[in-house]
Subunit: 434 residues, 2 copies
Amino acid sequence: MSTRITDVDVHDVRFPTAAAGDGSDAINRGDYSASYVELRTDDGPTGAGFTFTNGRGNEITCAAIEALAHHVRGRTVAEIAAEPVAFWRSLTADVQLRWLGPEKGVIHMAAGALVNAVWDLRAKLAGKPMWRYLAELSTDELVANIDFHHITDALTPDEAATLLDKGLVGAAERLAVLEQDGFPSYTTSVGWLGYPDDKVRALTREAYAQGWRAMKMKVGGPPADDLRRARIIRAEIGPDALLMMDANQVWDVDEAITNMTALAEVDPYWIEEPTHADDILGHARIARAVTASTGGRCRVATGEVAANRVIFKQLLQAEAIGVMQIDACRVAGVNEVLAELLLAAKFGVPVCPHAGGVGLCEYVQHLAIFDYLRVGTSLDGRMVEYVDHLHEHFVDPVRTRGGRYLLPTAPGYSATMRPESIARFRFPDGPVWR
Amino acid sequence: MSTRITDVDVHDVRFPTAAAGDGSDAINRGDYSASYVELRTDDGPTGAGFTFTNGRGNEITCAAIEALAHHVRGRTVAEIAAEPVAFWRSLTADVQLRWLGPEKGVIHMAAGALVNAVWDLRAKLAGKPMWRYLAELSTDELVANIDFHHITDALTPDEAATLLDKGLVGAAERLAVLEQDGFPSYTTSVGWLGYPDDKVRALTREAYAQGWRAMKMKVGGPPADDLRRARIIRAEIGPDALLMMDANQVWDVDEAITNMTALAEVDPYWIEEPTHADDILGHARIARAVTASTGGRCRVATGEVAANRVIFKQLLQAEAIGVMQIDACRVAGVNEVLAELLLAAKFGVPVCPHAGGVGLCEYVQHLAIFDYLRVGTSLDGRMVEYVDHLHEHFVDPVRTRGGRYLLPTAPGYSATMRPESIARFRFPDGPVWR
């Protein structure tokens, strides 16, 4: 822990996914990219972290990481671990850089990349995978890592401690469940908007054969197309498997209510991002309408671009979501995710992390496992998103079996990218982009 | 209008204000800066726009402007004016760059700089100051410039048209009022947190002598200090002048309620940014509490970092604000501000624009005047913030008399910076920074 961070290297890494239609939805058509950070140390491993972006603009988040890097360079891991909130605020409440958010978008994502890289380093130094490193921290240590500023009206440090203490009970039994079965997940690989019907049908059939019993499709195209594609998937998976829908924010509030009434026919399990991600009151109205029109069978889900813990707090306070979708690197890293997991537990809402892109599955598996072991303490309604893209670029890629994530075992946060992938996909000078 | 934008020049311009304590508040201590854009044209004037930042990180917003510039370069003003929402969305809903917001922070501010530069160019080509250019657009033209996506649950195009048509009635009389008296304003130059008591007292006395009858102080330091400074100002200005307070988001929700109860003694007119800018439900709770504890005399105000029209929509829907503080370049420029002014009018909330920093007074005077002429149609409770900093760097600086803004007369949006100021304060190569 006397290990000192001597330098911060930032890499602009981009994968040319847009051309294939992978990841296409109602709003995005991206080249999955990472603003990738390596924390060099004087006598220890390299800490790795990144924030995910959608291609163009990855140089902007990289520039933001560079602008924040002086808060990390030269610090020892022991210093950071001793005053974790002070460290976190040095990144998120910098007196000049905060203006660029505040606590949202580019500057907050950049903070997330650095914060996560520090956590990766902490876990590597402890010789544990991140989920285990977190789960074995004491309640006091976990609480000390959370900035409660602006959320005390919903969650106090004492309430957080009570939840975490409660999470100690039965943790060993829950771990045994995961060691045996893995963590439940669902697949988003079957229904991107860019795929033709035949490809959707074939991919759905294939996924079902592989054991997946929960699948997500994109909606937000012409309503008749959405319904036709949904019927194809429902016909393939039968009445019992779960079918989730993701509108990627394209609808207005009333439009979401109308369209989900029509789509109720195929029994959706959730509607994700039905409208603008900032619209807490809109999500609450949609949630009430969808609950009414489906007899409570369909939930509203959101969170992959929820800017920070204050947005999540309100989504919960307003009863706007029945599923909370945290992201590992949209917010300012593990510290903020801890607050979000505890908020969800306080309000009794299950957490189903957002993944896909590049490296997001690698990150969030740790968070979901920790949540189950120490916070949420249930698998009921919990699933981690799974997309079968780009795992080959990571040193410790996710492993799945029969629609479930297997427990990561390597020390760290599974965020370390293969050097040859960084070299090949580096923008603009890697061979793929030259 | 056949004028074509041939190139986009971006300048990182920073003024070393942090050392003087100007602009210091509970959260920020900045070197006022502009990510400054010049749109070069083939046969017309240069369009000028900028977004304001707080010093470090100005290179990030500059990089974001560069990343968006290809949507502007090569376009004619006529093309943009013919399909203004399509143009606006090319910047705010770019399929790859949107992920970096969405519609918030760095990427949205960058869009605002470009959008405003195009409006400056449009007004210069029309030979009118921006306020007059906007006020003389037809209702149909104004409505055609607004993206109603995600706000139709609060404001439809038809409702906007009705408000704008109503705003035509009496517009000439209202203009005559402004030509005679100027636009009301208030000063924020008296009570920055960085100033000692004696300086606060002297500045307050000076401002009162100059005719100011509305002044704003910063709060959010130790509560006893806030009260002591507030008493100094109240003693200087007497019981009738308005005293506004600005906490710059430092308080938690319950803390804001407690502190404003104590500060009620000095009869504050509004409390600005009492908590995190994203906390719509928190602002609503504070508004209810402050209304109760002051018998309705004190209002909640916010908006200078409200990310976009969806946040403003909700602040109004939740009855969270009694004063709406738009900013000219935090959101994506004039088009989005039009939506916000109309939302405020629909909900009957007065607009008091945020200014200060560098160039913000120059920008927002036009918006406030347009609002009075065509949308809000009243001066009741309307004031533009005024800070006496850095106006000398603009070709067409604001002019005030007796606490009121005088009508700008030069064509454009008053955003054009003096070339010698750009050269001198350019970061990092200008002589001030070398």
